[in-house]
Symmetry: none
Subunit: 133 residues, 4 copies
Amino acid sequence: MSLRFDITPGSPQPIYEQIEGQIRRWIATGTLKEGDQLPSVRALAEQLTVNPNTVARAYSELTAEGLVASHAGRGVFIAARRQIYSEEERLRRLSCAMKRFFDETAFLDIPLAEILRRLEEAGTDYFTHSPKP
Amino acid sequence: MSLRFDITPGSPQPIYEQIEGQIRRWIATGTLKEGDQLPSVRALAEQLTVNPNTVARAYSELTAEGLVASHAGRGVFIAARRQIYSEEERLRRLSCAMKRFFDETAFLDIPLAEILRRLEEAGTDYFTHSPKP
Amino acid sequence: MSLRFDITPGSPQPIYEQIEGQIRRWIATGTLKEGDQLPSVRALAEQLTVNPNTVARAYSELTAEGLVASHAGRGVFIAARRQIYSEEERLRRLSCAMKRFFDETAFLDIPLAEILRRLEEAGTDYFTHSPKP
Amino acid sequence: MSLRFDITPGSPQPIYEQIEGQIRRWIATGTLKEGDQLPSVRALAEQLTVNPNTVARAYSELTAEGLVASHAGRGVFIAARRQIYSEEERLRRLSCAMKRFFDETAFLDIPLAEILRRLEEAGTDYFTHSPKP
DNA sequence: GTGGTCTAGACCACA
DNA sequence: GTGGTCTAGACCACG
C-alpha cells in the first residue's frame, strides 16, 4: 500500500518540509507505527514526481530527529518513539515558535481571544484529521 | 535612548525579519507610538553591526505595510495606525502563521492543551509586558 | 518567447518600478495568466542589462502584493488572483494616484473635459489592447 | 496678506513639490494673477518652518517652467501666462501620466467606470476648490 | 545629515 | 539551474 502524500509544489513551504510534515503527522497520530517501512527514496520521488534529492533530504532530517531509521540496503523504517530533545530544549523551541507566531500576527488587529479560539480549533484539527495515508 | 534590539545573525530567520518583528512588537505593545522616530538606517546598522541595506530592507517592508513612514532627509517615523489588509487577507495570514506554528511544535511531544495554555499566557504577556526598549 | 519590457534607465521612476508596472499591466490585461512563469531573475537582468538585484526587488514587491509567487529553485509564477488590500486601503491608493495625476497634468493647459475624455479612451484601451508581450 | 499653504512634512510627496503644487493651483484657478508677488524665500521658509533651500527649490522649478519670474533684489512674481511646452510635449506628458496612473490603479479591482467617475469628481474639485490663499 | 536606488559579487537553500 | 540573503560601496534626492 502506498502512502497518500499531498504535495503542493510551489507553495511557500518547501517540498521536503511538506513530506516531513506529513510523515511526522502520521507518526504522531499513529497511522505509522514503529517498524513500518517508508517507500524508498527513488520510489517516492517517482510517485510525487519530484527530485530524489528532495525526498532524501526529508528522510535525512527525520533520521536526524530520530523519528525514522534507515538501514542501508533494506530501506527506511519508523523508529521506536523517543524524544531527542531535553525538556529544556523543547520548551525553548516552543517559546521561540510562540514569539514568532505573535510577531507574525500581532499587527493583524485580530483579538487575542479569537486567535486562541482559532488556534485551538486548528490544533485539534491538526492532530486528529491527519491526512489519510 | 536607543532601542534594545536582539539580533541573532545566522539564525534561520533572516536579520531583516528579526528587525521587522521587534519593531512590529514594539508598535503592537505601544512601546513605540505614532510619531516616534526610529534610529537612522546607518545608525542602526552600526549598532547591530549589520549592513545598512539590511536595515533599509526591514524599514522598507514596514513602510510598504503602512506601519512606518519614511521622510527623505528627516528619518523614519511610526505611522498612524491603519489596517491595509482585507479581512480575507488577514485571516489567510493568521492561518499560515498557525500552520507554521504547529509544524514547528507538533513533534515536541507537548500536549495540545499545554501548548494552548502557554500560548494564552504568552499572548497576554506579549501585549502587556512589552519587552523593554 | 520573451516578454518585451520597455525600460528607461535614468527616468525619475526607478527601474524596479518600471518592471513592476509592466508586469502588473500584463496581469491586469490578461496577457499574463495564473500559472505563467516569469523570466528568471538572472535572465531578465541580462535581457534588460540591469543588476539582478533590481529585478529581484521588483519580483519581491510583486510577491509581497500577492500578484506572483516564487518557488525556490523553480522560478516565479503568476499567482491566483486575490485582493490583499482592504476597501479603505484601495480607495486610499486610488486617491493618492489621482492626486499625483492631477499634479502632473494640471499645468499643461489641457481642459479637464479633454483630459477625462482621453483618460476614458486610454483606460478602455489599457484593458483591451494590452501591449504586446 | 500671506498665502495659506498647507504643508504636510513627511508625506511621500516632498515638501518642495507640495509648495509648487499649491502655487500652480492658485495660478491655474486665478487666485494668483500675473504680477502678484510671492513671499520671499526666507519669509516663506520661516512661515512654514522649513529649510529655505526647500522653498528656493520650489521657486526655482516654477521659474524654470515660466510660471513665475524672480527679479533679483525685488522678489518673485507671477509671470505672464505662457506655455513653454509644445502641443506635442504636452500630449506626451499627459500620456505618460495616464499610463502611470493606470499602472498604479489597474490591480486595485476598481471598475474603470468608477475610477473615471471619481476622477471627474476629483478633477472638478481640484480646479475649483483650490485651497484658500 | 537623512533615506532611496543601483551595482557587484559572495554565499546559501531548494530542486 | 532557481530565488533569497547579505555585504560593500557608489551615487542621487531631500532638507
